[in-house]
Amino acid sequence: MSSVLYDAPGPKAIARSRVLSIIGIILIAAGLVWLILVLGAPTVSANGAVQPGLWSVTRWDVFSDVQVWRTLGQGALNTLRMAGVAAVFALALAVLFSFGRASETRWIRVPTTIVLEFVRGMPVLLMMLFILLVFSTGSFWAGVAALSVYNGAIIGEALRAGIKSLPRGQREAGLAIGLTPIATRFRIEFPQAFRQMLPIIIAQLVVLLKDTSLSFVVAYDELLRSGVYNLSNFFGNRYSFSFFFVVLAMYLTINLSLSWLARVIARRSRSRGH
């Protein structure tokens, strides 16, 4: 591995870093084992009642109930549904925003810029509450609207940067062969900018998927609310850690596979590239 900080290591340095590495592995493993043991130990609460450790069977036996899995699956579906709908709207808005922002008419460009700055500087959660209370849309559409506007603004900026980074000749050539400015933008500049910015757009869509969990706060039954909050209210707090653990695993599976997909697409579009 070549790095800015180090020369390629010689035999002595390799041996030394191997020893350090083994010590590191032992330290990390010891830390993990300690954590597992501490979590697994039975605890005594303030009133003297003894609670079983977190790995005890009595905390995990709910998972033999089919209804639990059905609820978890429904939660995951709700999360994915919100993410899917919001992604479509976000992309549409992004196109609008990027055109407005790069427009040659001042009366379109300046208001779009102000709206974009406002939207990008504001928490998504506040926007969700805002839409829920002002337009009383219900929690699903409040979540979808806030996520599409926010992510649309960010993807729109990425698209604009993509359009701006194209060689000037592209636009000039389009105009020179008699296309209207709008047609030039749509048929010449936009497809190139989109392809160039595809990795960033997909990464932002992963962020959108993660942010659907914010709709927990406006009481939408997504994975976190239905899988951890509702289930542990129903079956008792004893199981809340187990439910959390499973929901975390589900989130990580979905997000890590999407991130992996994003990386594959990024690599492919780069190798096909320019």
Partner: protein, 215 residues
């Protein structure tokens, strides 16, 4: 409008709590992020692996899940130093990998030839780091770092949903009291957030332009 004026102390208290959450979690995440970045670029493979796994896991976990864990499950595990501290811990943990990534990409962004030239004229490791690499890396790192802090500012609003009284909590409380002026109240809260985020964004943009001119 009068709903805002008569509740101004509540807004200001929320704003103060947002700022202190931002400061505490920001400093914590910076410290943790520097440690992670150091592990990530160290020649020791096991540290590198640990930091990589930590970064990937935390970055792919939604913030709401992290704060849920802090607010509901840590007290259940009999660790309860108060919701403010718990939220600060959650935000620190969540933000640290983003800081580590910004630092790492800055250091790796210094051209290899710079370090090789420094070593070949006989500078020691410490000298190479402090005279050649760091001055260049810091400049490139500051704009992305500011962007991480802008994101952190916006993320503190999630803590408001988990029993911390900051700007978002203030918004919820006052909209409950004054249902007739929801729009004005929410706009006022948005302005408080923009007071933090827009100047930070302008500074980041300015520094970014300056650095690109220098290179």
């Amino acid at each position: 409008m009068d709903a805002i004026i008569e509740n101004l102390p509540v807004f200001l208290e929320g704003f103060r709590n947002t700022l202190s959450l931002l400061a505490i979690a920001g400093i914590g995440a910076l410290v943790l992020g520097i440690i992670l970045a150091a592990m990530r670029i160290s020649p020791v493979a096991s540290f590198r692996g640990f930091a990589t796994v930590y970064t990937e896991l935390v970055r792919n976990t939604p913030l709401t899940l992290v704060l849920f864990f802090c607010a509901y499950l840590l007290p259940y595990l009999q660790f309860s130093p108060g919701y403010f501290t718990l939220a600060a811990i959650g935000l620190t943990v969540y933000t640290s990998p983003f800081i580590a990534e910004a630092l790492r990409s800055g250091i790796n962004g210094v051209p290899l030839g710079q370090a090789e030239a420094a070593r070949s004229i006989g500078l020691t490791f410490g000298q190479t780091l402090s005279f050649i690499i760091m001055p260049q890396a810091v400049r490139m790192v500051i704009p992305p770092l500011i962007n991480v802090f802008i994101a952190l500012t916006k993320n503190t609003s999630v803590a408001g949903a988990f029993f911390v009284f900051e700007l978002f909590g203030a918004a919820r409380k006052i909209t409950n009291l004054r249902g007739d002026e929801v729009l004005a109240i929410l706009l006022a809260v948005a302005v408080f957030y923009l007071i933090i985020t827009i100047p930070l964004g302008l500074i980041a943009g300015k520094i970014e332009r300056k650095v690109t001119v220098l290179r």
